[in-house]
């Protein structure tokens, strides 16, 4: 026993002596802690935000969108849109190359666009799955070495922003790749190249473009929020995403990092489903009346929800469009329960003997959005105060709630957050591009909204178009299908080593971020 103990002590001492110091990031390296795993680097299969954030460093795009929502040339130097709005001709910069040294020409750009549309590829990423269907992408053609034409099936007012999301790569390298190679060994055109990828653990990028500030970026997969916070405070990570609201104080109290809170572009709301099957359900009949929906707007103290449950000072949304493109004439609904009660009385839903007006089911996910469960319960409580008996029904996100939402069968009331953007009001409004759109989860069908899309398309000037947009947003505000809440805040933990500034669109682009 004594010999064994001695041996164990010697082994343990030797082990500890052999240890390197804690893995502090190197002076020219930025380490990012992500909450979700990365699954692929195939440019046409990338779908998640975290995956896209890394891919954005590996692959260049024709244009980029700034944090303020402005378009800036990137691989392309200029863009010309045809008279009929169906052809976008980009002029490429000179001297571009891919990471394997192959020159990057207009032919490569055309190939990058056409590859995602090839049915043989079975691609399911954001490019073929969302962008191409949104803009009715037809095909891309190289005019010469520096000019490429992107052709659409129809004029589309948000195409410029969506085309800026397509990843560009070189034809020769990708034509030779197997799907497996394309997923694991990308050959990009961006500022960084993939140096290594330990699945489920970390992705290491190395600088290719000398103008990029950091020599290496390490993306570590740290799913557990408290572990991410510990790594940040411990000085092992420079930037973490999705900081839990209850950990903000711990980070701010540390001497090594601070929290950057920013109003994101994800629009959080409670939808009123006006589909046929809900008209006969308890409460489903009541919410058909715009007056009832408007009454509910007054019943919720949204700034208090933000402050108490999200640890964030927010201004209530006035519609489905992100600022600064929202209708500036509209003021957020105030918290006014008396007004809510008055409107409900007028609408023919007085309090009964027990004080209740009507019952209604409110469905929502658990653990998908920031403190979603408590937000849903708070909304139920506020509506309960004005006599509406809300029955919250919380569900597992991926297997139960997503199919329900996608089939537009959630309701009569449901809690949801949908992605938006800073660069166009029309992008945010396009969720409701037609009554039967898959993203019109409420099945709202007010002609004062849906009949105006043709007017928008045919507007002679930008001012005329803006006028129509504002009119539509007023209809949405007064009689719309959403109980308006807030734009979900994003919390980033940022070490004092780097000069990172958070963006509102959940995008992390570290090209210009330096280690101090």
């Amino acid at each position: 026993m004594n010999k064994l103990g001695l041996l164990a002590s010697v082994a343990a001492s030797g082990l500890l002596l052999a240890m390197p110091a804690m893995a502090q990031p190197a002076a020219d390296t930025i380490v990012v802690g992500l909450s979700a795993d990365v699954t692929t680097f195939d440019p046409d299969n990338i779908a998640s935000r975290d995956n896209a954030n890394i891919a954005r460093h590996i692959f260049g795009t024709l244009y980029t969108v700034s944090a303020e929502g402005k378009f800036e040339p990137s691989l392309a130097e200029s863009l010309e849109v045809s008279e009929d709005g169906k052809t976008y001709t980009y002029t490429m910069k000179e001297g571009l190359t891919c990471h394997d040294g192959e020159p990057l020409t207009a032919e490569d750009v055309a190939y990058s666009f056409n590859r995602g549309k090839d049915p043989a590829g079975n691609f399911t990423g954001n490019t073929p799955g969302f962008i191409y269907s949104s803009i009715a992408f037809d095909k891309a053609e190289a005019v010469d070495d520096r000019h490429v034409k992107i052709m659409l099936g129809d004029k589309n007012l948000i195409a410029e922003g969506l085309l800026a999301e397509v990843y560009i790569h070189c034809k020769d390298s990708y034509e030779k790749m197997s799907p497996d190679q394309a997923a694991t060994s990308p050959i990009g055109s961006g500022a960084y190249k993939l140096a290594s990828w330990a699945k489920g653990s970390e992705v290491v990028l190395e600088r290719v473009d000398p103008s990029a500030k950091a020599a290496r970026i390490v993306w570590r997969i740290i799913p557990e929020a408290s572990t991410r916070t510990a790594e940040l405070i411990g000085g092992n990570v420079d930037l973490i995403t999705n900081v839990a609201p209850d950990q903000l104080d711990a980070i701010n109290a540390s001497k090594v990092a601070k929290v950057q809170a920013i109003q994101g572009t994800r629009r959080m709301y409670v939808g009123f489903n006006m589909g046929e099957q809900f008209k006969t359900q308890p409460g489903g009949d009541a919410i058909q009346d715009p007056k009832v929906r408007r009454a509910m707007q007054y019943a919720i103290d949204v700034p208090a929800i933000c402050k108490q449950l999200l640890n964030f000072e927010c201004e209530r949304a006035t519609g489905l469009v992100n600022p600064p493109n929202d209708n500036k004439a509209l003021k957020p609904y105030p918290y006014d329960p008396e007004m809510a009660e008055k409107l409900l009385d007028e609408a023919g839903w007085p309090r009964k003997d027990g004080g209740e007006r009507f019952s209604i089911k409110l469905q929502g996910p658990r653990g998908r959005y920031l403190n979603d469960q408590n937000v849903i319960l708070a909304i139920a409580q506020y509506l309960g105060d004005i006599g509406i008996n809300v029955e919250p029904e919380l569900m597992e996100w991926s297997s139960v709630y997503v199919p329900l939402i996608r089939e537009r069968n959630a309701g009569p009331m449901f809690f949801l957050g949908t992605g938006g953007a800073k660069w166009s009001a029309l992008y945010d409004m396009s969720d409701l591009s037609e009554v039967d759109a898959g993203t019109n989860y409420t099945r709202w069908s007010d002609p004062r909204w849906f009949d105006r899309w043709e007017d928008i398309k045919n507007a002679a000037t930008e001012e005329d178009r803006r006028k129509i947009i504002d009119e539509m947003l007023t209809v949405f505000y007064e009689d719309g299908p959403w109980l308006l809440l807030y734009f979900q805040p994003d919390f980033y933990g940022v070490s004092n080593r780097i000069d990172f500034v958070a963006r509102p669109d959940e995008e992390i682009f570290l090209h210009d971020v330096a280690v101090k």
């Binding site: 082990l15 240890m19 969302f130 497996d180 699945k199 489920g200 740290i222 572990t227 510990a230």
Partner: protein
């Protein structure tokens, strides 16, 4: 013995078919996974296209039989989210989990046996009470909480151990890169200390109590009394007579314990950002990545079958009363 082994291996095929069918049905109960693979703004046409591309538009029995047909030909399918061979992903993540499980098992058993023996030999004393209390604590405390507390105390405040991550040893070893493997070994162990203890603490507690009760039972046997009356030293009585027989239930437990630990690493792998099989499967279940889940189920079932077989063979070796 060879007949026994052959029979057990044949039985395992039925077990494998059973577990793949059960896990397949369990994943399908969760509903149509197509929505998890499309953008939130995808059109109905895009959704249908993806559903067809992933094969979810076929009847369930066709999907299952086609999968089994593939497996028989040695093709375990491609991961739906990684778009790479599913079995490759599972086997790629397995070494890290084996490292963690073995570390936890060695930690648990290396301490459980002496703790249990000392507690039994000092029954009713403060030492016995202390060990029992510690064991009760270990069986009561959730391993993720223990993990987070260890991160806070040993990782964040004392800076003794890394907060998260993993340095591979088995993976380079299996690839024949012995230099890297053994160069990594000290750091592999270093990174394993906290997650390994968090995973193994429950087993340590349970087995310490098991060894203690097993030892107490043996110490009351006639042959121990006989050994003492022959004038043997207490050490000889304990080591050569009592412990030899007290070991038997522990040997059975070790095999089962390995399986138990293998199942218990999921949460700890998440807490410590440890890139093992538990986390891969957890994500795959969330993503309805059926080929990955099925491959993992097959691999784990094979490990369980082999472990049980090994335990039976060892038991037959150490206990002459057992005939295979």
């Amino acid at each position: 013995m060879w007949t026994f082994i052959a029979r057990r291996l044949l039985q395992s095929i039925v077990v494998l078919l059973g577990v793949t069918l059960i896990s397949f049905i369990a994943l399908q109960i969760g509903g149509d996974p197509t929505y998890l693979f499309v953008s939130e703004r995808a059109s109905q046409q895009e959704i249908e296209m993806v559903r067809h591309a992933l094969g979810f538009d076929r009847p369930l029995y066709v999907q299952y039989l086609s999968y089994i047909g593939q497996v028989v030909r040695g093709d375990f399918g491609n991961s739906l989210s990684y778009r790479q061979p599913a079995m490759g992903l599972v086997l790629g993540a397995l070494p890290a989990t084996i490292e963690l499980t073995v570390f936890a098992l060695v930690f648990a058993m290396a301490l459980a046996v002496p703790f249990g023996v000392f507690a039994a030999l000092n029954r009713g004393t403060a030492l016995d009470g202390g060990i029992i209390t510690l064991a009760m604590f270990g069986q009561s405390v959730p391993n993720f909480w223990l993990g987070i507390m260890m991160i806070l105390f040993f990782g964040l405040y004392l800076h003794w151990f890394p907060i998260s991550g993993h340095v591979p040893f088995l993976q380079p070893l299996l690839q024949g890169d012995f230099v890297t493997a053994f160069k990594n070994l000290p750091r592999t162990l270093y990174y394993l200390v906290m997650p390994g203890i968090a995973v193994g603490f429950y087993s340590l507690s349970r087995n310490a109590r098991l060894v203690r009760s097993s030892m107490l039972e043996v110490l009351n046997q006639d042959y121990v009394r006989t050994a003492r009356s022959k004038g043997l030293t207490e050490r000889a009585v304990v080591v050569h007579h009592a412990l030899r027989n007290a070991w038997l239930p522990v040997i059975t437990m070790v095999g089962l314990e390995f399986g138990f630990l293998l199942g218990g690493v999921v949460v700890i792998e998440t807490v410590f950002s440890y890139p093992g099989l538990g986390r891969l499967v957890f994500n795959a279940v969330n993503q309805r990545d059926i080929p990955v889940v099925q491959s993992a189920v097959i691999v784990l079932a094979v490990i369980f079958v082999l472990l049980n077989l090994l335990v039976d063979l060892i038991y037959a070796k150490v206990d002459p009363r057992v005939k295979l």
